[in-house]
């Protein structure tokens, strides 16, 4: 892969602190307004965007709770509007309740919601659950040609990465950055983060230096980007740079995102500070149990990795992995289930998963690069 980043002048963006102040001011204002006017769907749409930002960039799992409350409010107060059901579908998708989201879209269509919003939401669901992937790809490609916005290009890049077309994925992400259509640091940080994931976790073998560069760029746009800090800290941990990893994690150590405390537990373990490590591990367990009790489907895949590793509970990992697979039969979901099945020494199940994965995803380049290509089951 060609690391073009050295020649790419990254676009300027609104200072991350200013953007965060505005995000919080809008969020606060919109909640105030929706309490007074629960029928203002434009405000509700804005709230979904802002709460999603909190969840994605700041690791605030409570944002999902607030979104579910919003969904109930909308369904109670505006049940005659098709757009209400589109918004409810969007919220259901964010908590990975894709069946429910699909039902909402059916109702939205009955109530004459706009074709454009129905298409967008259906596309998002189909992409997330690995359904109709050829149509999803064709639509994502068409949308990014019609409107090469950062959102469309990053979504296309993510799809390329899932398909195993890594060069195309990189190009799509880089184009999202170079088009310079955004000045919001949120979107630009997201594109950089996706590049970090591509080079640090998706590519085999990984290119940690390039991944580090992109995570650092994400943080230059949005210094409190929790997931970027966690992923970058992981790279430093892997390289033995414990002090640098700690510097990244300390500013977000109070965050209830279980990945933060998990990474801290690993860090203290490496430092040989067993007491600190066990405290953070216990907190990680509590935080995973809490988020799973609230939004099991949304956090199942994240939790699988934990229970397979420090969480040391392969049975739970397998149960969550199968739940996730039933919900969204993506190649990644098959991989997680397969790994959990092997950890539980359920070889017949592992073989069955391999067969199913091959049937559904065997034609994609990603399959040849997946765990299944090394598997003997």
């Amino acid at each position: 892969m060609n690391t073009l980043h050295s020649s790419l002048a990254l676009p300027a963006a609104t200072d991350g602190t200013l953007a965060l102040i505005n995000h919080e001011s809008i969020l606060d204002r919109c909640w105030q307004t929706i309490e007074l006017h629960p029928d203002r769907l434009g405000i509700a749409a804005q709230l979904i965007d802002e709460e999603y930002r909190r969840s994605h960039f700041l690791g605030d799992a409570a944002a999902l709770d607030r979104l579910l409350t919003l969904s109930e409010t909308l369904l109670q107060n505006c049940s005659e509007s098709g757009e209400t059901y589109v918004l409810a579908a969007q919220i259901a998708s964010l908590v990975h309740k894709f069946d429910q989201a699909t039902q909402y879209l059916v109702r939205a269509k009955e109530l004459d919601a706009s074709a454009h919003s129905l298409l967008r939401q259906q596309l998002s669901i189909d992409h997330a659950i690995g359904h109709n992937w050829k149509d999803v790809f064709a639509t994502r490609l068409r949308l990014s040609l019609q409107n090469p916005s950062l959102q469309n290009l990053v979504a296309l890049g993510a799809l390329y990465a899932e398909m195993g077309l890594y060069q195309e994925a990189e190009q799509s992400y880089l184009r999202a950055l170079s088009e310079d259509r955004e000045h919001s640091p949120f979107g630009l940080a997201w594109a950089c983060f996706q590049l970090g994931v591509l080079f640090g976790e998706t590519l085999e073998p990984a290119q940690p230096a390039t991944a580090q560069y992109w995570y650092e760029q994400a943080l230059s746009y949005m210094p409190l980007y929790t997931h970027a800090r966690v992923h970058l800290a992981e790279l430093h941990l892997d390289a033995g740079r414990l002090g640098t990893a700690l510097d990244l994690l300390l500013p977000i150590q109070d965050n209830d995102d279980p990945e933060v405390s998990w990474r801290l537990a690993q860090l203290y373990e490496q430092k040989g500070e067993a007491h600190e490590a066990s405290q953070h591990l216990a907190r990680t367990l509590r935080n995973f149990e809490h988020v799973l009790s609230r939004h099991e489907l949304a956090f199942a895949d994240h939790a699988v990795a934990f229970y397979l590793e420090e969480g040391n509970n392969p049975e739970k990992a397998l149960q969550l992995a199968m739940l996730n697979l039933d919900n969204r039969a993506t190649l990644r979901a098959f991989e997680l289930s397969h790994e959990a099945a092997l950890a539980c020494e359920q070889l017949a199940l592992a073989q069955s998963l391999t067969d199913r994965a091959k049937l559904q995803w065997g034609h994609l380049p990603a399959f040849a690069r997946s765990a299944f290509s090394f598997s003997t089951t």
């Binding site: 609104t14 001011s25 919109c30 307004t33 919001s184 949120f186």
Partner: protein, 498 residues
């Protein structure tokens, strides 16, 4: 919504989303011209400007090129720019965050420094130009839903925006003796454009209200071209894309014309109207009087083949939506289409900076008590909207029935409060009400509910409100006393659950 959220890109980056543009002669000094632009729909109290975006006004002298079916306006070369730029925040101090600072680059290149939120603004040493930047109550008040043409109350009620305001001496700035007709636009552009960027460096621009949302976005099942439009260079649209815009405007204006089942715009008139709209700028004549009614008068008169008589423009209190939809639907040949919004949350002021301070967040007071009685027993006493159970209430009379019912409360010290029932759920044992008058707060919404508990019943009484006419502390005291006394009375009556 004027120019609010006009395209997917604006949703992604609301701090660059222009919501409105106003241009008018100062009502207190006819020698001065005022330009106001607003951004960031739904801004909260702490909202700030981006440090990497230019917030600009561009004024061009215009020539009227024809009347009637030949109606048109041609921008001339004379151009004036006012560009606001803002900085990042300084480090926090023990007294809190420093205020955001910035400056306005004036025509000719001089700069005028400013601090965001300074109510009186900043003036050049020669007094010619005055500027303001900060949080304001959203001055826009749409009273129609455009698709179904449903009359609704202002659906931006209580919203805030960030505003930039510039007021300048008209004669010395614009030299109106060389022509007093001008086109005005507001735009947001990158402050540090990426030299390698292949796209047009503009986030948003606005001329006449509703060019994008009410007009371009009202044709069903077609590609949303608002993002494309917003990247165009004002006064110089891309010639290759003109046919696309012309077609969209034509289709939309035809749909608008048909909304009252009669056709007022024949093909030739529609073509002229589209031509005028393709030149999208707020048209003002600084030598003629402007008022809340003069918005679009220049365009309308020109299209009807007669000389215009006002300065056009757009004042803060102009009801631009009703003026626009009436013109689009019946071409001013039928009744004025009055929507459900008569003014903004806070009407515009006649003095600088003309737009009002931001609406404050609602405050709330909540009191709960656990009682030694069943929920049904408690609800029987307090659940009626007309129940007389509160010790501070001397007399209570009801008017009407069901939702909307009014209760007039006379307190033991002779004060009168009127409240309206807004929601009632007998099964859930709760009701909500809104204050009509009697407490210095607006709005004021209350809710009273009873729930069964393991040991009896729980009563919750809450009020959310915004103080009006009195300080926060006084209003909170009034409301707290009301709720506390009520809870204490219930405790005496039923006993507290242990």
């Amino acid at each position: 919504m004027s120019d609010h959220i006009d395209g997917p890109r604006q949703t992604a980056d609301p701090v660059s989303d222009l919501t409105d543009l106003f241009a008018f002669t100062s009502p207190t000094d006819a020698k001065r011209t005022v330009l106001i632009a607003c951004v960031l729909p739904f801004a909260g109290e702490s909202a700030l400007f981006s440090n990497t975006i230019n917030y600009g006004f561009v004024v061009r002298r215009l020539k009227q090129t024809g009347l009637g079916l030949q109606a048109g306006f041609e921008p001339l070369a004379d151009e004036w720019r006012f560009t606001f730029q803002f900085e990042v925040l300084g480090p926090e101090t023990v007294t809190g965050r420093t205020k955001q600072t910035g400056h306005c680059v004036l025509p000719g290149g001089a700069t005028l420094a400013l601090t965001v939120g300074e109510e009186h603004g900043f003036t050049t040493s020669d007094g010619r130009t005055r500027v303001f930047a900060g949080l304001r109550s959203d001055p826009f008040f749409p009273g129609w839903l455009p698709g179904p043409m449903k009359s609704v109350p202002n659906y931006l009620e209580n919203d805030n925006v960030l505003s930039v305001v510039v007021e300048f001496d008209t004669a010395s700035t614009l030299a109106p003796e060389r022509g007093s007709l001008f086109g005005v636009i507001a735009e947001t552009t990158p402050r540090h454009p990426n030299p390698k960027s292949t796209v047009i460096p503009r986030f948003d621009w606005v001329g006449r209200p509703e060019q994008t949302n009410f007009i371009m976005d009202q044709v069903p099942d077609v590609l949303d071209i608002r993002d494309l439009w917003n990247q165009e260079t004002p006064f110089a649209l891309n010639a290759e894309r003109l046919p696309l815009y012309r077609q969209r405007l034509t289709e939309s204006l035809q749909l608008w014309d048909k909304k009252d089942q009669t056709i007022e715009w024949d093909t030739a008139a529609l073509e002229a109207h589209v031509r005028v709209r393709l030149n999208d700028f707020l048209t003002i004549d600084v030598a003629k009087p402007m008022s809340d009614k003069s918005h679009l008068e220049i365009e309308k008169s020109t299209l009807e083949g007669r000389p215009y008589t006002t300065g056009g423009g757009r004042t803060v209190n102009a009801n631009v939506i009703d003026i626009l939809v009436t013109w689009l639907i019946n071409r001013d040949r039928g009744a004025f289409l009055q929507g459900g919004a008569l003014q903004a949350t806070q009407a515009g002021s006649t003095t600088f900076p003309y737009v009002r301070p931001g609406n404050k967040n609602m405050l709330s007071v909540t009191r709960s008590i656990e009682l030694k009685a069943t929920a049904q027993e408690v609800w029987q006493v307090i659940g009626g909207f007309g129940s007389l159970w509160h010790p501070l209430v001397a007399q209570l009379t009801l008017t009407g029935e069901g939702l909307g019912q009014l209760r007039r409360i006379e307190t033991i010290d002779g004060k009168i409060m009127i409240e309206r029932l807004s929601e009632r759920d007998e099964a859930q044992k709760m009701y909500r009400y809104a204050l009509v008058s009697g407490i210095p707060a607006n709005p004021y919404n209350g809710a009273l509910s009873v729930q069964a508990t393991a040991t009896g019943a729980s009563v919750t009484w809450s009020a959310s409100y915004r103080p009006e006419g009195q300080g926060d502390l006084i209003v909170r005291l009034i409301i707290s006393s009301l709720l506390n006394t009520g809870m204490a009375a219930l405790k005496t009556r039923f006993g507290a659950a242990t």
